[in-house]
Symmetry: C2
Subunit: 200 residues, 2 copies
């Protein structure tokens, strides 16, 4: 059953939309979701401003779609590979190492997309902030649950998850701001030291 009937117009539209969102996420990781402007996006992609606008209907919708697109990239690169391992220490290590590599190799040119937009929207109300906060909660919950799957750490998974995520974000922040790759080494040291130490 090869050759599913596809409307070539819709196909083209979706591809354009994907290109817009990919570039939007790249820009937003550097300039923020507010710094992201429809006009600039259109210029860089060599399409019309109204063409970009028509895909989303408002800037807020563009921002929300950008967040969702970035989340999908994050999921594919960091979460999914780890979930292929059974719960336990190996899964947790792959999850954390996957995050560090995701940040380190600049999947987004400005470092972790969510670090950038969290800090940008954390103190203002609105749907964009709510969406970002929801993804943040999901990530925290995932790390906590993964920690819970490691017997030696299961006594206080919230606390351990807090510390582990703190190391990751710190590495991202330091390495981007100071162009200092050594931050990742320090984060790895901190992570392994934390994982080696039982809690309770």
């Amino acid at each position: 059953m090869v050759g599913v009937k596809v409307d070539g117009r819709l196909e083209r539209g979706e591809q354009t939309r994907r290109q817009i969102l990919r570039r939007a996420a790249e820009i937003a990781s550097v300039e923020g979701l507010e710094g992201l402007s429809i006009g600039r996006l259109a210029t860089e992609l060599e399409v019309s401003k109204s063409g970009v606008f028509a895909h989303f209907g408002s800037k807020e919708e563009l921002q929300l779609a950008t967040v969702r697109a970035a989340a999908k990239i994050f999921l594919d690169q960091v979460v999914t590979p780890a979930l292929e391992l059974p719960p336990g220490g190996a899964r947790l290590e792959l999850l954390l190492e996957g995050w560090l590599v995701y940040s380190e190799r600049r999947t987004f040119p400005g470092g972790c997309f969510f670090y950038a937009v969290q800090a940008e929207f954390d103190a203002r109300p609105g749907r964009v902030r709510d969406a970002i906060a929801e993804y943040g909660r999901a990530w925290t919950a995932l790390v906590r649950d993964t920690v819970e799957g490691v017997p030696d750490l299961a006594a206080d998974p919230d606390q351990v998850a807090f510390e582990l995520i703190a190391y990751l974000e710190m590495a991202n922040a330091q390495s981007v701001l100071h162009d200092d790759p050594a931050a990742y080494a320090r984060a790895r040291t901190a992570v392994h030291s934390r994982l080696a130490r039982p809690v309770g």
Copy 2:
């Protein structure tokens, strides 16, 4: 020798400038240094836009002055009190606890000013980023040096400082984004657990 000769015009100008910068830092901690606009600042302070502008000559200078003003507040509230204690564990604890209180009681309405603007400027070039990075380095160096003053931690002060600062920033980020004061409790737990454990 009371009554230093002061030019009343300069005096008035400086006071206006201080009011502008205080409000600018408040706004920037929520909306960022780019979201900070001269027109809005003028409206909120009920002065003319050109009046605000004239004090700085360019938006970039306003941003730089805002960063310096915020640094002064941070210094007074967090750094100076700690430096009044002799080097050692007590000084380190006061420094870290001072930071947590500075963030927790919302000295700036958007949480830590430097967390917000670091994430905003970390990936773009320019004088504002350079200034922010410099303050970041100074803060890191201060924490490292303070750690070095604690014999049990002096073996790897960079690593310990990395972890401690990570806890602080994580608490700020989580509490602002999720309106969750429990983040500070977790940071305190992490800090004390870290301080109680010798390095080496």
